[in-house]
């Protein structure tokens, strides 16, 4: 009758019983998406079903996205969309995790390409091809080039939305005047400008290097200007040792030459693009030039005081590289942004989403707001609205690049699968730290080609 002996036995029994019970409990509470599928993305309470939509934060674009949702909600009191704003870099991780966990929003925002392909492979987004066949008018209203990155194996899985975003070379006209130099017309000019700016204590180029995709934009252009679009296409297609292409090695070498010549601002690898610090360097005159997405125009307009409105900001397409094969009109960036429908959303939520696709997004009102913010919407026939805008020159410039480009390359990290993109970004940051040589970079990348 010693109490201690029974204690140990009951304790063991407890130990064995508990995990089972807890495991069962865990299964019961954590699997809403897999079995029932009804509560997926169901953070919107209340009586009627609500579709959910996570959109990117950061003014002035955030306001356009919010207004679009608000306008739709106002017009459709019975089909509401609940919007949540999330920061860009954080969103990319959060959306993947929540799709895997069955808690994604009804409307899945993205950039198409490799990430969308991984959703499609996992059956997480709906095929919208029948929807577009029933509603041909929706497709006809938008830039044809915008559908490429939303189409996987001939089927459309995403609706292009928002605006076209080529990467352009910005420069600070006031700084150029101060130093007494002209904007570069070729890679040679760039290399000549670097010591001139450095001598005056101005960084030639601003760069938010910790974000890594900012560095990648440089390589996208250098690859294209030196070897043409075929070089990356071969990589994308998974051709063996495609990174060993002489044009690729040449581009990587030129990149490191610019870094070694102090072409970028001191401390670039600790600057993040999310905080817009790289853009602040340009409009405060601490840096003379910056390669950045067209969305940066709105940010500089918003944050830079009278920098843009007083004509301080200059812009051009990336200059030619002497002897390069690529067409100087080509560009890279985001042909559009994309919205897909989460396959585990409820039928009611999907109905709301489709209604939003038909009447809510890419509206005239939204197009006007994008134009007012300095962006070119992907809706056909908005050129007429440019003239009335105070940013008419800029809008015509972006429209010109987007419509004249023989090749509009998609951002590499978006085009590739997430796993390959991570290796790429990782190696790019090493390349920019000069801790790998161009050949080592190519070897590292060849190892994961076709993944």
């Amino acid at each position: 009758m010693e109490p201690r002996t029974t204690t140990r036995r009951t304790f063991l029994g407890l130990g064995l019983g508990l995990p089972l019970g807890a495991a069962l409990a865990a299964c019961g509470s954590s699997g809403p998406g897999t079995s029932s599928g009804s509560s997926a993305g169901g953070s919107g309470g209340g009586s009627g079903a609500k579709a959910t939509y996570w959109y990117l934060s950061g003014q002035p674009d955030e306001a356009v996205r919010k207004n679009t949702i608000d306008a739709f909600n106002k017009a459709n009191p019975n089909s509401q969309i609940e919007g949540t704003s999330i920061q860009n870099d954080a969103y990319k991780t959060k959306i993947k995790t929540s799709i895997g966990a069955g808690t994604a929003p009804t409307l899945v925002f993205g950039w198409g390409g490799g990430t969308l392909r991984s959703y499609v492979k996992a059956g997480q987004v709906d095929d919208l091809t029948p929807f577009f066949e029933q509603n041909p008018a929706i497709k006809e209203r938008l830039f044809p080039s915008a559908f490429g990155a939303g189409t996987i194996d001939g089927k459309i899985y995403a609706l292009p939305i928002e605006r076209v975003q080529p990467i352009v070379l910005y420069y600070n006209k006031k700084v150029f005047e101060q130093v007494g130099v002209k904007p570069p017309e070729s890679w040679g000019d760039i290399m000549d400008l670097v010591p001139k700016f450095n001598a005056k204590g101005i960084a030639p180029f601003s760069l938010g290097g910790q974000s890594r995709w900012t560095n990648m934009m440089w390589l996208e252009f250098l690859f294209d200007r030196i070897g043409g679009p075929e070089v990356f296409q071969a990589i994308f297609d998974g051709e063996k040792d495609a990174w060993n292409n002489p044009a690729a090695i040449d581009a990587l070498t030129k990149m490191q030459e610019l870094i070694k010549a102090d072409g970028f601002i001191k401390g670039f690898s600790s600057i993040t693009a999310d905080s817009n610090a790289d853009q602040a360097l340009l409009y405060t005159g601490k840096a003379a030039m910056m390669l950045h997405g067209s969305w940066s125009y709105g940010i500089q307009n918003n944050d830079g005081g009278d920098f843009v409105s007083s004509g301080g900001l200059g812009y051009m397409n990336f200059p030619v590289v002497d002897g390069g094969k690529g067409d100087p009109g080509n560009t890279v960036g985001n042909p559009a942004q994309y919205l897909s429908i989460y396959s585990q959303a409820t039928p009611e939520q999907k109905e709301i989403a489709k209604k939003f696709f038909t009447t809510g997004v890419n509206t005239e009102a939204a197009a006007k707001e994008w134009i007012a913010g300095g962006s070119v919407p992907i809706v056909n026939g908005t050129e007429g609205l440019f003239a009335a805008s105070k940013d008419a020159d800029w809008l015509k410039f972006v429209y010109g690049i987007a419509s004249n480009a023989k090749f509009f390359g998609q951002s590499w990290d978006q085009a590739l699968s997430p796993a390959a993109a991570e290796v790429l970004l990782d190696n790019i940051s090493k390349l920019f730290q000069l801790s790998v040589s161009p050949q080592q970079f190519a070897t590292n990348m060849n190892a994961v080609i076709g993944q």
């Binding site: 204690t7 407890l14 993947k96 895997g100 690898s269």
Partner: protein
Amino acid sequence: MSALATSASPGTSPRRGGDRALPWLAAPALLVFVGFGVIPLVGVLLLSFTTWDGLGQIIPSGLTSWQAVLADPGLPHALWITFLVMAVSWLFQTPLSILLGVFLAGAQRYRGVLAVVYFIPLLLSSAAIAVTFKALLDPNFGLGAGLGIPLLSQDWLGNGPLAFGTVIFVVSWQYIPFHTLLYQGGVRQIPQSMYEAAELDGAGRVRKFFSITLPQLKYTIITSSTLMVVGSLTFFDLIWVLTAGGPADATRVLAVDMYKRGFQASLMGPASVIAVILVGVGLLLALLLRRIGGGSNSTSQLEGA
């Protein structure tokens, strides 16, 4: 159950069903531990033998994830960085914490005020600390540029060795207050009579510190070191916000490596392998430190105890 539990407190008669009630006392803790500790651990171990992109089907794939991770030169690098963070932060934090703890153990009133001030960093969240330091250390808009002191406007987070040092500094800034508190308590428990005896023998301040205070703090040092060493394995939030493991991979500790593989590259299998390694290393270190400590932590060297 709660009524039974209260009746089973020590001293009450075992006849009143104490032998049945006692194990149930551990149930809440056991439930939490199993639910949030053991089950995820088993899950991670199982996931490490699969291929999963976090989106679709989980496909069992045997040892492929293990082979991929073990063959990757990134693993020894991450292990090395983790070890460096552990060793350097221990070497930096321990002497400072002991000195501050001894200093704050004094009864003077100004030391009491200082103790409160020193404690503040521990109240802040790691992410807030990291964001603040990132802003202060920005070479173009930070403290150095603002005050016009060129010495302060280094490329703190953009240069490999400097970024590593900065991480150690910020980590220490956050955790030294906690360890100081431990040492302060430890010093206050040393019997005053020892110091009085030493003074009679003619020992000075330094001699008293090395001959009485330090040896008497032995178990506090072991406790504090265990917390530091095992805790440094889990540094993630601070490093992630501060450097994201960069520049390149200069501050990529195991925890950051795991996150990047799992949630950025969508390779849940290899990420789980790293997680299993992390757990293994943590357990091993905790065991090792207990060995070095020489038996149970509860033995006391205090007089009369």
